[in-house]
Amino acid sequence: MPTAKKVREEKLSEQLPRLLAAIEASGRAVSARPKDALLQSIVDAAGHIFGAAAASILLVNEQEGLLEFRVAYGASDHDLVGTRFPLDKGIAGYVVMTGQPIAISNVRQDARFNQDFAQSTGYVPTSILATPLLAGEHVIGVMEVLDKLNAASFGMQDMGLLGIFANQAALAIEQSQQMDQIRDTLVLGLKRLASADPSQPLTELLRQLQKDPGEKRGGPDVLALADAFNEISTLGEPERRACLQVLKTFADYRRSAHRLRA
């Protein structure tokens, strides 16, 4: 009859390869930089390339039914960041609802435009182009550019181009969310291992991970592990398997060492 502890450990050793595969799948594209810096660089690039007076990225908060300004460039200023408004308001709300990009000129006459809100930001645009950030068919946010310089409105080519930027932003958000999930899963796995033997140094790593994710030792360790595994994987299938085997053997060794002491 296996003890509860033993069952726990065996589950962990089964899960480790899966966890590592997930880390591998997330790839190196996950930047160690905070995700908002990446989004900011995307919105800055879009603003410059379109010659727009302003640009911004809003993210959907489904639980609260809200859209929140995450990053902004230009005339709309950084005051916008963190501002929230209902999902069904304004042109961004329209894009969320339909999942379709839209370009509009004469925005001041537009019934969709959340006029009170725009006035409260101190900047009211005359033309706007907004496109969804999509994860599959799911709208996770909206990217918009305002007031094209030297043109009355945004055209179809602008729409296609903004779609490419939006795609980048959506990938950055998705991958950052995946990374968070993987870290959470790893924390859970380590927690199980650590709770099997509280005297082991793993508890320290776990503590670090929980205390200050992504910045102190824990975050970079997880990324370093992902990097190392990725690098080895590029050498070929036998190398990848060998790497997994080494880690698995180490996990087994830890388990047997633990058992001997018990």
């Binding site: 609802m97 339909t98 999942g99 000129s105 799911h138 709208v139 055209g155 179809m156 729409m159 795609n167």
Partner: protein, 278 residues
Amino acid sequence: MSADPNLPAWSEQFTEEAIQQLTASGPLAKLSPEWAWGGSTGKGVRVAVVDSGVEYDHPALEDCVRGGVVVEYDEAAENYVRIEPDEQPCDYAGHGTACAGIIHSLAPQAEIYSVRVLGKDMHGRAIQFAAGLDWATEHAMQVVNLSLSTSVEEYFGLFHDLADQAYFKNVNLVSAVNNLPAPSYPSLYSSVISVAAHSGHDPFIYYYNPTPPVEFGAPGIDVDVAWNNKQYVTSTGNSFAAPHIAGIVALIRAKHPELTPFQIKTVLFACAANTRRK
């Protein structure tokens, strides 16, 4: 969904430099816009607008809305959707009202039905869309305007079947292609009439593209359209090109009820502004 930077945006095929001169020869040369839709008002043709709903009492629609349905996502229901009648349809987004307004401006006596598949619920959109399209095909609609599409690969087969089903039931599906340079369904199937935007403003000027998938270009840039809450706005997108063609198809079907979907596509080709008839 992802935009592919290597693909041109669909509407680029309808820029002034890109439009090709085509020829309709033999019997096709006899098909003219005058023959095809001259004098027609679209009377009695049933047109479904599968979209965000239609504001039935918008003044621009002049009481042409005859009813419709709402398709809602419901995990507990069979096929995950619930379809409810909607005798006095509304529109929370404005998009569907814009499409209905364009169709009505071309075919003032066509009967418009709202099939509302877009709403605040962010889940199950493609399933709602598919169920709405199925409803339209099964309820004797003759023209269905689809100014929306899905880019989710796993729905390729489902929408392909639905498009074939419509084609075999003598229903013309008029589908806006994706605004982004990425494939979307059902706009890329040969059984549908796929439409992108050109920058002209004459509602009867449309072009044929001899290198599909996107076959027709109609006005869709800075178009003045009806919107919800009895408003009007100026908008850009392939969404507003498709209903121009849907309106013309309604006119043709009213005048020539014997024509089938593939014959109508041929008539559209022969009457395109870039087709010379000789």
